[in-house]
Symmetry: C2
Subunit: 193 residues, 2 copies
């Protein structure tokens, strides 16, 4: 079972993944970008501002995704694999129209769609509060409106994909302003059912 | 003016580019992949067999293409730029259906289509003869049928692109079994007119 956890920065993905690691010791934990050797190089290239081209950046992330699917997801299709981010982030952060972004990312997935998707969401108020408490990194510094737009694109993307697919992807959208343990319970129930 | 020179290995691209370099000293000569710093890294990644995924490889080459368009082609739109390979190779070598390959490569070009395309072509007999005289590299070792298929895909791609575009891209298809000087003259006339 391939599960992805999505959400903008400060939504609490890392905290929840740490809890899952304790509760699911036989599960494989991975991430995008950077879940493979190629992905680590790609992640470094992009984060170091190695390219100024939005398109080049997008294709690099798609290469990371295709490699990750090939090397990690397909090789472990008999196990439970939890990925910190996946194709929804790919779609949401791509600087092209959402429909093109969806079709490119589905191509990179090569039919290996996740069985379950968890999306941690934040309201504008909570996001502002959390960002003000945190040292901003490259992406966060692009602003609150930017991050909310990314979150909206994630939600819109899953809606569009479920419309066009015969089988809907089982999706849990969580209000990430809730207590950490409550969120962890919601995720636990979702994975087990 | 942006000009690309295409053709399978042993068709004589390098020889013709060397002649152009002597005759057109003010022209910028570049190549794909590897015409930028990012492209050099990508080229090394792929040629060293860093990825086994056909899709990851394709997306890496598309990233190289997008970067090259952004950094070299668009920055020099007032000059003559000759590129050793371009999007036709991208389409021909991609291991997906030709129409998807075309739309991905046009996306990477970001509207910067070449003004002129030169394609050096070889018959099966001449290709066999040339390959038997040369140390085979990674791509050549995939066989004669493979290279002829790539050549056919290049020709098919330009046909399909010209069908769907209002304005045909000015294209010169050369029989590369001819004498080097005759080919050089054909290219020279084509560029000047």
């Amino acid at each position: 079972m391939y599960i992805i956890i999505e959400g903008i920065d400060t939504a609490g993905k890392s905290t929840q993944i740490d809890i899952l690691k304790q509760n699911y010791p036989d599960t494989i934990f991975t991430k995008e970008p950077g879940g493979t050797n190629l992905g680590i190089d790609i992640r470094n290239m992009v984060l170091n501002g190695y390219t100024k081209s939005n398109l080049a950046e997008m294709f690099l992330f798609l290469a990371d995704r295709a490699e990750h699917i090939d090397k990690i997801i397909k090789q472990n299709s008999d196990k439970t694999v939890v990925s910190d981010r996946g194709f929804l982030s790919g779609i949401a952060y791509a600087k092209i129209d959402i429909k093109s972004a969806i079709s490119l990312n589905l191509l990179a997935l090569d039919n290996a769609l996740p069985s379950k998707i968890i999306i941690l969401t934040l309201s504008k108020e909570i996001l502002e509060q959390r960002l003000s408490n945190k040292k901003h990194d490259l992406i966060e510094s692009r602003g609150i409106e930017y991050l909310l737009d990314i979150q909206n694109r994630m939600l819109k993307a899953i809606e569009l994909i479920n419309q066009q697919n015969n089988k809907k992807i089982d999706t849990l959208i969580i209000d990430a302003s809730q207590n950490i343990k409550i969120i962890a319970n919601q995720i636990d129930n979702f994975i087990k059912n």
